[in-house]
Symmetry: D3
Subunit: 116 residues, 6 copies
């Protein structure tokens, strides 16, 4: 499945656009376009770098104990230059805000991503 | 109520230690000490700056729709040099991960903090 | 503050556009436009009527125990022709999915909205 | 395992009573009876049709990012006559209230249910 | 508003039946009866004492950051003989499972309940 | 991997220290030490017995619909002398506070733990 220009723009920002999302282009083009628009605005470099936004998203997904979201966010992490040390620090913030299980969700997913 | 050395160290990191937490020193000293220990480790400058950790915490509290936590995190934000523009970017990340109401919680609390 | 055409379109769909959201037009026009676009797509009559979408949103806000979101959703409920009996049925669904406190959050907010 | 009259009544309303729940009849009969009573009240056709209540339950389970609940709700969806287009609309409401990951949870589960 | 026998039975178990719930008897008698049935089963002394069930409910409400539920659970706490020391221990469990803000929600509500 | 004294102390309190946590000793010793300190304080016998704290933690994990946390809490349950009947009662409390899906998450995990 080829990516269009807006999807390529998004991939540069978040490191990896899930296949699921690209399929949305044909199954629900209006939703796809609307989400792409807001995605491209949210994840752009700004006062906060896209790298720090990614770390933030990983911390949020971990605090929400959402393994799907964690995997989706971590998928592009290495490509954006994130290291396991940075992710660990973000997960410690999630610990304070959402407890040990939030941290553990994050650590399992992060260890999986960075093990190789 | 005077702050001890560890509390001062924490205040430098997070901008503001809530009165509630300082009262814990007398009402539950073991809990106070244990939380202080982990707090001082989590919020230290590291691979992620304390400023970016604060933004991360604001985004998480917003994604969790937790107004108490939002206020607590925002209390020290200005002192650490955060601007409303940076907070806005963090809240947009919370929108993607947790929807419009999460963003609205964050915006109300942030507007209150930065209005003066 | 005057509403633009897209906001009027949204108001017809959801019954009430919060002032907060209209202010976003000047404070963060790109975010405002992106959210408006997706809002207008999501809330349109379709296979599910806008009335049933509103009931659904009330049930979700209640299940999430989010009083801000509950108020925002209920604000337009009467204008769209919803009755307290319909809202009660939606909140009973929230009870099954998210427990007694979710139901209670919903009932307090709904009683407030429909009392006059 | 044979269903009793109350369970059959419930199955008509929600499309599918999980085996787990039917086993509860022998392992914890009082809990089974109490839940059956409230279930039969909540899911009955009323001001909101059982079909719309099912869509509502799918949207809530998605907003709560609860894959178990999503599967349980979707299990009876086809039998009640729901289509993927209706479920998609419900999931877009979940997107607005609970963000992209809530929508993605819902889409994965719905695609699985309706693929054949 | 006079309590019926089932409500009195419930009050003995949980220490305090909210006015809201008693009003449900006239506004939605079927819901009232169904909830009363399950409530009376859940909160009875059993392998776990009603006192420990109450502490458990306080810890859960705190972990869910649900101030309404916290107040409702704490309302009957003193009448059942709970002390602030026991509640504090329960809230520390909530800290481990759901983080600092969950603990803070609980502490604010508990301090309010036990201050006099 | 051998356990140190503090880990053994914790294992006595919670029945089972996850391998994940023990690995943290080498990958992030400061985090390991800080969490161990607070863990040993929280889970100690006190006004609430460690057995009742464990039941509380199971109920919270269930109310949060967190399968990882449920498994972690249940891992040590039998060793502390908990029975399926006690866990069932705790899960019924979770039902009231967080709905049917919370209860179902708990039941699946508990049945798995106690089946043999």
């Amino acid at each position: 499945m080829k990516m269009n220009a807006k999807e390529k723009e998004l991939e540069e920002k978040i490191g990896h656009v899930p296949v699921f999302f690209r399929e949305l282009a044909s199954s629900d083009p209006q939703m796809h376009e609307a989400v792409l628009k807001i995605d491209n605005y949210v994840w752009a470099d700004g006062k906060i770098s896209r790298k720090n936004k990614k770390l933030m998203a990983i911390a949020i997904a971990s605090a929400l104990r959402d393994d799907n979201a964690l995997k989706a966010q971590l998928a592009g992490a290495k490509k954006l230059g994130l290291t396991i040390e940075e992710v660990d620090e973000a997960l410690r913030v999630a610990f304070m805000l959402s407890g040990m299980p939030a941290y553990v969700h994050g650590k399992y997913a992060a260890n999986e991503t960075f093990k190789s």
